[in-house]
Symmetry: C2
Subunit: 193 residues, 2 copies
């Protein structure tokens, strides 16, 4: 069985020193074999934490969050972007997406988080940590306990880990990337949690 790092190395394209396309297995075309591996690896890192809910933001994080939630036997909760006409008692944060350069509203309904909950925030990428920090803020505001963060890929040079440090919880990444070389297409992984 391929490791997550092998999957990333073999199935992604380095488009720039900070720009990785994983459209063939994760971000557009989704390979369930890869996602099941991801779910298994994240499960190994969090299954002893009595997690009750996996939180993410639509759309890229949904499948990873769902697979992990299925594996843990708990629910997944994805923040909606933009005006969510049917949402009640929303917690809201304004998100400026670094890739799309537009402000959108992130929303989670208080109906689905309570002080009984033990939550992990997961996403496909940890880049600058903006989205995950907003999600974690909403989790804390709901009264739930934030237990940790889990990511498939981390761009370790982008400062995301620093942006999440204030939450003082473990940050687990399956494929932390130190550098990417667009001419050779190679990815150098970091030794990291």
């Amino acid at each position: 069985m391929r490791s997550i790092r092998e999957w990333i190395q073999e199935e992604s394209e380095v488009l720039g020193p900070e720009f990785l396309r994983v459209d063939g297995i994760l971000n557009h075309c989704v390979d369930p074999e890869f996602i099941v591996c991801v779910g298994e690896e994240l499960w190994r890192r969090f299954n002893d934490q009595e997690i009750t809910c996996v939180v993410t933001a639509e759309a890229a994080g949904n499948i990873v969050a769902y697979e992990l939630a299925r594996r843990l036997g708990v629910r997944a909760l994805y923040a909606k972007k933009g005006k969510a006409a049917t949402m009640v008692r929303p917690l809201m944060r304004a998100l400026i997406s670094p890739t799309k350069r537009a402000a959108v509203e992130l929303a989670i309904s208080r109906d689905y988080l309570s002080s009984e909950d033990r939550v992990i925030v997961v996403d496909d990428f940890l880049y600058q940590g903006t989205t995950s920090a907003l999600l974690a803020d909403m989790v804390v505001e709901s009264g739930a306990e934030l237990i940790g963060f889990g990511f498939v890929i981390e761009k370790t040079f982008a400062g995301g880990r620093d942006a999440l440090a204030r939450f003082e919880v473990p940050i687990k990444t399956l494929a932390p990337i130190r550098t990417m070389n667009p001419s050779s297409g190679t990815i150098e992984f970091a030794e990291m949690p």
Copy 2:
């Protein structure tokens, strides 16, 4: 085990004669037990069709498409909305969302569909069929073969089935709704494929 119709009846809220909120199991907070049921039921309807790819549109369809793809052992492909900076060789369609009232671009990369493919288009809801028709158009344009449509919930009064009739493929719905009564909260299901 609860049937899909029982899940919908018990876990959704009727907000208007055409307006159903399923945020507690499907559209915001996701119950893996329900989604696994949905995947199993859609699998039963399509597993003898040699499907190679399950196509949907982000974000609501992603988890349903992924679970069905995992069950079938094939890949899921979700159309991206808005400008997708990293996409190559895109097939594009302009979508006017009936709920959000704004035009967005739906895009699928030709890299992930070919004339070898046998495709089903799935989504959480069949309402007017707009999104699914655009997805099916893109599938046909790619040269792949469209085998059918699969939906969790159909609002049979909204004309979606008519909008998809021109594709001349089976349309399978797990919970076809004939009427919804916002005062009593009851849902009357239709007898239908």
